[in-house]
């Protein structure tokens, strides 16, 4: 006997989103779809007319925003604090200088193996000093945000993780569910069953490792999808905040387990930016996996084959 689930897929945030729900409550998959659309419209940096675009255009002054944007900015600042500034939402200028000014949705990525051969020496990323994200003021009572003059935000992965968490709240009464926002996923339900999670290898598209999760979150961050050629070599979207350039740390992909998708996304990105040794130490608490430049897989914490994990 197998568990029947309804599988609803759509494309938003420049990535594929998948929702698995109880067939008796399939309409909730559409509600999740609508939620993601609303979040995308408000939080995308590629639309100057989005709420985030309008906030970025009014840096230096107090801007009254929706509770949705307030929460997303709060989540990004939480990620910056908990990563000691490595997951920095204020690196948009650097990201654009690296060649990521517009959406790369639908564009084929450059071959990762070629980029690794041409990449500079590997070294851990560092936080930016002084940290501009510390000067972003969020006034929850007034629903207002003030960005320092000249500072713009990119909510990137934290918005995706937060979206998966908000969708999980919407599906909380389902017996079992999965929300997979381009690799950032929440797994749970009132009666969740152990579910196999595969990690896709970024170099050869095969399964790098598999494990079982009953409830919690899993997120993967890496270089493979948003990587492109430049006049001087290759660039990608994971910026080393201290240097303002793409990070080449020796890790090409990190997968993290955590109670929430926001935490898992933050852990995965931080682990990648820290490099192999410090990244593995970081992932040890909840479990995770690193894939290094040579394609080898480093497991961390309790993440072992066939082990049943509850990330919460």
């Amino acid at each position: 006997m197998t568990v029947a689930e309804h599988d609803h897929r759509f494309h938003v945030f420049g990535t594929d989103v998948r929702v698995l729900v109880d067939p008796a409550q399939r309409m909730d998959a559409l509600r999740v779809h609508a939620l993601f659309r609303r979040l995308h419209r408000a939080l995308t940096r590629f639309d100057a007319g989005s709420e985030l675009g309008l906030l970025n255009a009014r840096a230096g002054g107090d801007v009254v925003v929706s509770p949705m944007l307030l929460r997303a900015v709060d989540a990004a600042l939480w990620a910056a604090r908990s990563s000691d500034g490595l997951v920095d939402p204020t690196i948009l200028d650097d990201l654009e200088r690296a060649g990521y000014a517009g959406s790369r949705d639908g564009q084929a990525p450059a071959p990762l193996a070629d980029a690794l051969r041409a990449a500079p020496d590997r070294r851990p990323a560092a936080p930016r000093r002084p940290a501009r994200w510390m000067d972003v003021a969020v006034d929850a009572a007034q629903n207002a945000i003030r960005l320092p003059a000249g500072v713009r935000l990119d909510l990137g992965g934290t918005a995706k993780g937060l979206s998966a968490d908000l969708a999980a709240q919407l599906l909380a009464r389902h017996s079992t569910f999965v929300v997979d926002a381009g690799g950032d996923m929440r797994i749970g339900g009132t009666h969740p069953a152990p579910r196999v999670v595969h990690i896709q290898h970024p170099l050869h598209d095969q399964v790098a490792h598999s494990f079982v999760v009953t409830a919690g979150a899993v997120a993967t961050s890496g270089l493979r999808t948003r990587i492109w050629r430049t006049d001087h070599g290759y660039s990608h979207h994971l910026i080393d905040p201290g240097r303002g350039t793409p990070a080449w740390t020796g890790v090409i992909q990190a997968t993290a387990l955590a109670p929430t998708a926001l935490e898992a996304e933050t852990l995965a990105k931080t682990a990648l930016l820290r490099g192999p040794r410090a990244g593995r130490e970081l992932l040890a608490r909840h479990g995770g996996a690193l894939i290094l430049d040579d394609g080898s897989v480093l497991l961390a914490g309790g993440l072992t084959a066939n082990a049943t994990r509850t990330a919460a």
């Binding site: 006997m1 197998t2 689930e5 309804h6 950032d184 990690i199 493979r224």
Partner: protein, 78 residues
């Protein structure tokens, strides 16, 4: 020799005819309603199928199906 129906026989025959007609009408109504209901269900399942397809089944290495196994999922760089 001829026979004539009595008034009582007429009334019985008329009542039987009315009953038959009523029964036929009821059967027809039920049939029409059933067809419409089946059509509605069919359309609903089509639209639902367009929105959501059943997920895959987890198959054990020996080809058999594990009990209560939800579909596997894949995490990847996005």
């Amino acid at each position: 020799m001829t026979s004539r129906a009595t008034p009582a026989t007429h009334r019985l025959s008329l009542a039987a005819t009315v009953l038959r007609l009523a029964a036929i009408a009821m059967v027809a109504a039920v049939l029409v309603w059933s067809v419409m209901f089946a059509d509605l269900l069919h359309k609903h399942s089509d639209s639902a199928a367009a929105l959501a397809q059943p997920s895959g089944q987890l198959t054990a290495p020996d080809g058999g199906q594990r009990a209560q196994a939800p579909a596997p999922v894949t995490t990847r760089t996005s």
